[in-house]
Symmetry: D3
Subunit: 258 residues, 6 copies
């Protein structure tokens, strides 16, 4: 995996001035991350994840039934819901319950979180149970969906550990560590972990979900204003991989996993 | 105002054993309260209020228009919305946006919060603006609506101070300090600041909103299972008043008001 | 219980001129009340209650199942719904079905009616049945929610009598007579049974639901514009109690109860 | 127009026994009709129409704007809404506002009422105003949509008279008297003004709306179980016309029209 | 049955100039019709019906259960849904799913299609199954509801034939051929099979559904702007019958029925 | 760009037997494609695109206003809606309008189509107009979202050409050709243009949208059951690029572009 400096040198781009990023970070630097485990008294697993000013509560709860399409398969299910507090955004957001339904963006995000977490788990070993993942954004400053996935992995692992502890299941069905980060091209420079201000003016916006082994769970890259080349795509995935491995060290620290 | 001991003595009831309250509190004791001011980066005023295990984010934002019924009156408006995170409750709550609409209970609570806060403010001095109060429950252990009012007062005052600071309005239109608490009759004993377990088995449940001068803004008393006498009603209001005055000292401490 | 004259004299307020109330009533006088029993051919119990120009159809029907939270408790349930005809109000009201959902006020009122009626009944003796109370306002002139409760008691009692008559249950599970009235402070004077015009300009608005024994089922007092003292609170409850006892005599007359 | 006896004789059918109709009526007899004018204090025009046990409140109100498709045409609009109280039907009906939207049947009926009333009025003379017709069924025993039209005509005429009286418009824009009735084939016999029991087992069900001059405003005939011939269609329209003319006499009596 | 020429002559109206109809048709002429059977790979029966520029996909599918009101009757059910593509109309139509619910017109039409098709079938012989008819308008140029019925008959017959072929039922439960057409009075002349332009300015608009034996399944005649006489009603039904018989020949040709 | 044979050889995988794909295609072969331009009489631009058994109507219409977030920017907007006919799928799909709202999947797809088409256009040159793209699936057999994008490009270009022709805008604001295709790993083999059966059992599912210059507009790769490596990701994008270039030749043929 190449560092950002190598990437830029290879392409004949001199390293961007630090001042380029509004919060003084280097292009390949993630924001400070804090994971407060067991944040919710009532959930089976939970954490508060803070990535810079982005702040998300992730909670995992277990229900003893599965959705219709999984019935009688012997297998479990992981599903996610995502919400933002009205006061979490720059200008107050209208509450989704007032509008009568979740917006398209919400649907898109909760489907992404669900798929990503399902890749982390051996659903067969979960048994006929649904694990509900709730990701609620208290404060938004970019990267709320990737922070949700990274935090939700911690909540999910704790909920499953709890099921083992209660002797409901024999062993923890987690089979892959999963974390996620956003990358993008801002002012022509590939950057890691965009904050809101950067995200708003990025030409390309990409979210990457990976396993501990470096395999891809999900990649979603979108041209916002400017299309991108195959080469740029690969540079962005390189950057993302570095960031994700760093997040995984922090997940492990929070979970007390060696 | 009589203390709980006097109240009980007058009625020939010997003081209940401490063990009566599940969390070892005396009947006239409130739970530990913590108010973290300016909890939300994007809101004009905000706090995180914790009352025992109940935890609510209160945020106040200003919009430069008023609802239809206030148009061209020169006067402002204060309105509130209330929500609970799915993971905030004992057993996971279905998200209101999934159900397509807020429940009756939610409507009832946000109308109560709105009325209570409007009593705190000279709406004429706010000018043709709406102040949106968002109270979002991160964790619920009884008394979420009264904690919302108590916290929202802090958020509201800060938002208005900010308007004065920005020279949008000439002076702070707060005219009354407002706080709220719940009381109830549990196992025959009038108790202050019920937690969830007590609230579930209370015979009478009452929410009281008062001003700094001890006047009533709102009183809502409900017989749950057992009706109550005029005398019991007055005992409960006595208890509530003591609790509210204590909360007001804590609001002032958080706000730095002497 | 003090009469309004005594109350005013005690406070050094000379008796208000009759002209103070738009319809010539004394402050402690209720409006003419008419209860037409069995108004609805299809309901198990019903009445049309008229309180001044306020006109509400109250109907009670029995369903042979209970809501999920009451299942397998052996106990019954009483639930209420409330609606207003579009033509019932001063200016035509938009139909709630057109707006896609009941408003907050509607929810608040139907929850109040349900709680009040449940206090009247021994739910255990009802058995696993739900009694649906429908209160539909044909014409609104203030006090529609309290008229609904007062009328619904008549409908409920008749529906239960009918169950006894059909030998579905052994004896009538009514354990308390219940009625309700509104009181308020208008132009500084505590008044009983406010009409719409008075309600609109009242400083304090209170709804009281009581049992035949004078115990409180529900008290909801709200400062509209001006907060109120403990003393005023008690004066208002006194007034309400007198009014409620008068309504109970009328309920009994309609029901043919001695 | 042939009487029912002639109709039957022409077809070689001997006159059906009176016992054929559950309420002892002759096949060509309408139910007792009562129209109570000005039933609603707040509406510009209104009546309570009772046709047998069917009971509908019809109210007309005027709004000083027109729907988008009529803007800047100089012409007015008449629109209708229809609702049933939950307690109006045989078995309690679920409230439409609880279901989140009006049912198909409701839409069908309110469109029919609207079209029928528009045929009665010179919309150009109404000016850019919308007349809202509300038909709310207090009790249903068949023929609620036709009773709604017949009653709504009275409410509409009174509302327009009131506009003339207030000098808002120069003269009453009613140009045709309009009334409606249902007919059907029950047990092989064409019958007028079906009640609920007859309607449920009719082979053919037809609603006819006519003007005072005997022209057709709307005809809706539906085979329920058995299709019908051209001849039967004409027999039913004959019956309907007789009934409608009788209803028009009753409308005129209520309105004091000679 | 009289031809249009006879009809006009009898009434002393000279035959209208061909130019009267925007597409050069004679008053009693239907538009070119094309029925493409088995248009949908996944449906049990289906066709694309084109009537002039009106283009509707009709599909029939079978579900092995019946709606609640048909349970345990041994009988089946036929129900229909109708939709229009946003791009099917003159000016783009807002998608019904975006508006959160089908409009009144949609409800009215799907109820009409369902009733008409039920008249074609012996529901008892269908057994406890629901046949879902979907009529989706790809392009609209008048007469979409009648084209839907005519096409749906073909889809329905094929679906039932398929059930016989699969030996699910013993014999085809079709008992009547059913087709439908619109007629109307345009510029004073009764016309058959109105296109959109004619429909928009017709004084009277009528939809007729008939069986192969010439009996009426449904007749819906509406005065748009001008009321109509009994005589005009009968002239229109004459015209409709001629058109329906022609459509039935085309249905039979498509189905390969002699 | 490597062909599939080279790709497989490089990885030491012998070419899969033709029988691997259910429809006899080679892994790098697309299905037969047919584009019928101007399919909708009422739309400004439209086509019916058929990709194997997948059949989608794409229509483009122009509205003379922009959504709120684009107001006063001088720039235009392109937005897309996507729907499936109930009869388009294997087992009949419930109509979204009946469910009261579009599902998450629908939102996800319409947002993807909209973003992809916006990349094709210079929005500034469109002026303050919204181009509505409607993609309606008549028959679904995999790849409906990518067929929608490919077809919508044709409809969009025609609608814009029409605006130029009407002299509404000076020149065609299309700046990039855009097409899309799905790829996936089926039975361990990277395959191009999956049909429904393949899509259901694919381990990895990827949708790629590209410009004529081979730049990426959107890439969405999802692990379904099995995660994928960086190398596999690149193989899939290679395959997609070949397929997209073939689709662009077909778009050009349909549009008559050299």
């Amino acid at each position: 995996m190449a560092s950002i400096e190598e990437l830029l040198k290879n392409k004949g781009i001199s390293k961007p001035k630090v001042a380029k990023r509004s919060d003084q970070r280097l292009p390949d630097e993630i924001r400070p991350v804090r994971i407060t485990r067991s944040y919710c008294k009532h959930a089976m697993g939970s954490c508060l994840i803070e990535v810079g000013d982005t702040r998300v509560i992730c909670a995992a709860n277990v229900e003893n039934k599965v959705p219709p399409h999984m019935k009688n398969t012997g297998s479990g299910w992981v599903t996610a819901e995502y919400g933002m507090l009205p006061s979490s955004t720059n200008t107050r957001m209208v509450r989704e319950s007032s509008k009568g339904r979740p917006q398209g963006r919400t649907h898109e995000i909760q489907r992404l979180i669900g798929r990503s977490l399902r890749a982390a788990v051996n659903l067969q070993e979960v048994g006929e149970r649904t694990i509900w993942i709730d990701c609620d954004v208290l404060q938004a400053d970019g990267g709320t969906r990737t922070a949700s996935i990274t935090g939700a992995f911690v909540a999910l692992k704790d909920a499953l550990t709890s099921l083992v502890f209660q002797q409901v299941i024999a062993r923890n069905p987690i089979r892959e560590q999963v974390a996620a980060i956003s990358v993008g091209i801002v002012d022509g420079v590939p950057c890691l972990d965009l904050n809101y201000e950067e995200d708003s003016r990025a030409d390309v916006d990409m979210n990457v979900v990976m396993t501990g082994g470096g395999s891809i769970v999900e990649i979603q890259g979108t041209a916002e204003g400017r299309v991108f080349t195959r080469e740029q795509m690969n540079d962005l995935v390189d950057l993302a991989q570095n960031g994700i491995f760093e997040l995984m060290r922090l997940q492990n620290a929070a979970l007390g996993t060696p």
